[in-house]
Assembly symmetry: C2
Homo-oligomer: 459 residues x 2
């Protein structure tokens, strides 16, 4: 192991260069204009996999390609682990809030700034670097490894959901490893044992057949923007509780043990408030801030659009109004069931003076894994060795819908071993990745494979 | 009078050509990119005034010029009337809903389609054509006339409000005539005796200092878009009544006489609903549709903006959310007082978890004029003569804020003699103007001046 860790230390600056090169691709999956950039980005990461000796195939799909790269000399007596990552990134808008261009990585101190560098390019690249260290040091990996790197995570992984059931043999594994989440600090490496699910919806309200003069007609018809505000405003009460009947029915209550574990995550309300940049924190009454954002379901408005949005004023009753919503779900809420009860409630609340259309977006089930299994204990030891600090157990507020799909199709549990820090700004302007987390992540990954191989052998 | 009416009939097709030429200028005052177009449009209407013999000056202002054109040979023994109009137009967006380009007038049947053709280019051009008929027929006008044509009506007439108090002598008059409003049908020419006022506001809510990942942070802070929806949604109840304390305090109740007069306006609920294109009508309980839209105050949302508005979804808590509002006011509500009580109420409702900023836009007081004065009776006779039908008394839902300014600075009442029809689509895509209304408006205007001169002499 020392030779492998020495290799990682020796090549650190090249690994940073590779990370910057990777982050330069504007691989924005939500925006059709970037489809060629996504192809180029997939080709680059595939070449990177080949360069360290992995058997690599770029699988074309109906949209962005899926890269599958496997360690050479497959040995059926060894366990197999699958490392999942995604090369696509969130839209960078609004550009004007970035202090440096989103696709021109800039190093400041021990951070690199670029869109997608933390979510998720840096994190799966750390695993790839660790595997390079094993292979180039001439050491024999105690397991087979498969890298599965897709290009649609930020828009719902449609192609991968199509790919998975048709490639079960190719992707067969004893467990999945995903680093696409975060840890509280570099001193608190964490195994994440639960994730929130998600369901995305769009609420569209049609009023008059065209924008109307607010003086001539105003008062004699429903204003669609007002109808939308009244509809959405009724979905949450002043104590932060969702008011949709049945919304909490399937929520598994937090145990006292879980609440104790979660309380180990360092938290300072003033620092957190300042970090968010809000005048005062807000959340569902009766829960800590960490519980609110990781163990409780939410309904968030992601966007509102109606009428005139330019300079000055335009005295109209807008023809329509719409909102983008995402609901974060916790075990055992089902995306389909929640979508259906939300839609039913919206239809019940919507006045007959406007026309309501509810469109379903992507969804993903919440996830919970046992933190006392052999592979989980092995992962905790690798975390401690890589980061040099005791590992803790956490829940994560974000959604990694693919985790449920791996369970379904590959019958494999997933270990979530995040490297992102709370101030990495994923999905926000000025996204960054810590070079210390990158290095610790590589060391963790290098030591993970013997631990997992040993755990798999024992089970 | 017959010679004058014959002149109008003889020149009708040229007047239509002039109208189309005038409508070709994209004189959109809300959009800075059109400032040169506004200057060209002002020059064109000034040249038109000069060509019929008016003494015309294009007054430069801090923004768009003001055109003042006076009949020659000023006679201090005759009364003077002022005709007001505006050459600026509303923004044409959204372009895709126009069936022909907004600044390329197209004649279909007895209508001409173009942005600004009804509001207001066609209406003041009708008056100008009538004056041409008087002057070119060699008949002596029984009054002095001043045309005042500005270029900022759609954005609050800032330059004109500055110009008025400094040009009281230039603009001195016995009464003002404005045709910038509508009549129910060509068979119901109308004198409008009341107008709603307006106050525009923008409500901006700031949440976190940047867009945040809705999974990682969602649940632990207020969503600004939700806060905005809840704030705005509380401003009106299910019966269409504004819930802001004190909002109705200064509203003058409709008398039984007024309600009888208003009931003469033809109305068919099904036809009106279909015309608006809504599934069901809606308005303040206890009032007819016509009363709701002309004699009752309103609060309308003109636009909503927050977060991600592009294709697909973006899983964020938006950093901010904002709404454009206009409130329509009725006698004796004051724009300043209403703005202040709305702002106070918004501040009271806004939770401490976000930051609220309320910005004031333009405002104009509501207006009420006695329909039994000598000049009003004269105007009714001119309407009947021009349109060939009994004239009725109506209220108007729109705002013509300048009417109050004329009262204040020139001590002159305003006669509102609209030529627009209910399906003219002002402020909407596919704005049009009726050529029959244009012709009737010219005949009405030609016959108005002897009536008004006679009324002024009698008073």
């Amino acid at each position: 192991m020392e030779a492998i860790l020495a290799y990682l230390a020796r090549n650190e600056s090249r690994f940073v260069d590779d990370l910057c090169t990777y982050a330069r691709f504007p691989s924005v999956s939500a925006q059709p204009k970037h489809s060629a950039d996504l192809q180029k980005c997939a080709d680059w990461i595939a070449d990177r996999c080949r360069s360290i000796g992995l058997e690599t195939v770029v699988h074309p799909t109906a949209s962005n390609p899926i890269v599958v790269a496997r360690t050479p000399n497959y040995d059926r007596r060894k366990p197999t682990f699958l490392v999942y990552g995604h090369y696509d990134v969130q839209p960078p808008e609004p550009f004007e809030l970035w202090t440096s261009p989103p696709f021109e990585p800039v190093i400041k101190g021990r951070n690199v700034f670029a869109r997608g560098i933390s979510d998720n390019k840096g994190q799966h690249l750390a695993h790839l670097n660790a595997v390079e260290a094993w292979l180039k040091s001439g050491r024999e990996l105690p397991c087979n490894l498969t890298f599965l790197i897709e290009g649609e995570e930020e828009v719902g992984s449609t192609a991968l959901y199509e790919f998975l059931p048709h490639n079960k043999a190719l992707l067969a594994c004893d467990a999945v490893v995903i680093s696409d989440n975060g840890i509280p600090t570099l001193k608190h490496p964490a195994l994440t044992y639960a994730l929130r699910g998600i369901t995305a919806m769009e609420v569209h309200i049609d009023g008059p057949s065209r924008d109307l003069h607010s003086g001539i007609y105003g008062g004699s018809l429903q204003n669609p923007a007002m109808a939308l505000c009244q509809l959405l405003g009724k979905l949450r009460d002043a104590r932060g509780r969702i008011t949709i009947p049945g919304f909490y029915d399937d929520v598994v209550r937090l145990t006292a043990y879980e609440r104790r574990q979660m309380s180990k995550v360092p938290y300072n309300a003033t620092a957190y408030r300042r970090f968010l940049g809000v005048p005062q924190l807000f959340g569902e009454a009766g829960f800590t801030s960490d519980e609110q954002r990781t163990a409780r379901p939410t309904l968030e408005i992601n966007g509102l659009t109606s009428g005139y949005q330019g300079a000055g004023s335009k005295t109209i009753i807008p023809s329509w109004a719409s909102a983008k919503l995402t609901l974060r779900l916790v075990p055992n809420q089902s995306p389909e069931k929640i979508r259906s009860i939300v839609t039913r409630h919206l239809r019940k609340l919507c006045p007959p003076t406007v026309k309501l259309t509810v469109t379903s977006g992507h969804g993903g089930a919440p996830y919970l894994v046992s933190p006392t299994s052999a592979i989980a204990k092995g992962a905790l030891r690798a975390l401690e060795a890589g980061f040099g600090h005791d590992a803790i157990l956490t829940r994560e507020g974000g959604s990694i819908p693919i985790v449920s799909a791996f369970k379904q199709h590959l019958k494999a549990d997933t270990l979530l071993l995040g490297m992102a820090l709370p101030d990495d700004n994923p999905h926000s302007p000025n996204e960054k990745f810590s070079l210390d987390a990158y290095a610790a992540g590589m060391r963790m990954s290098a030591q993970l494979w013997p631990e997992l191989a040993c755990a798999a052998a024992a089970s």
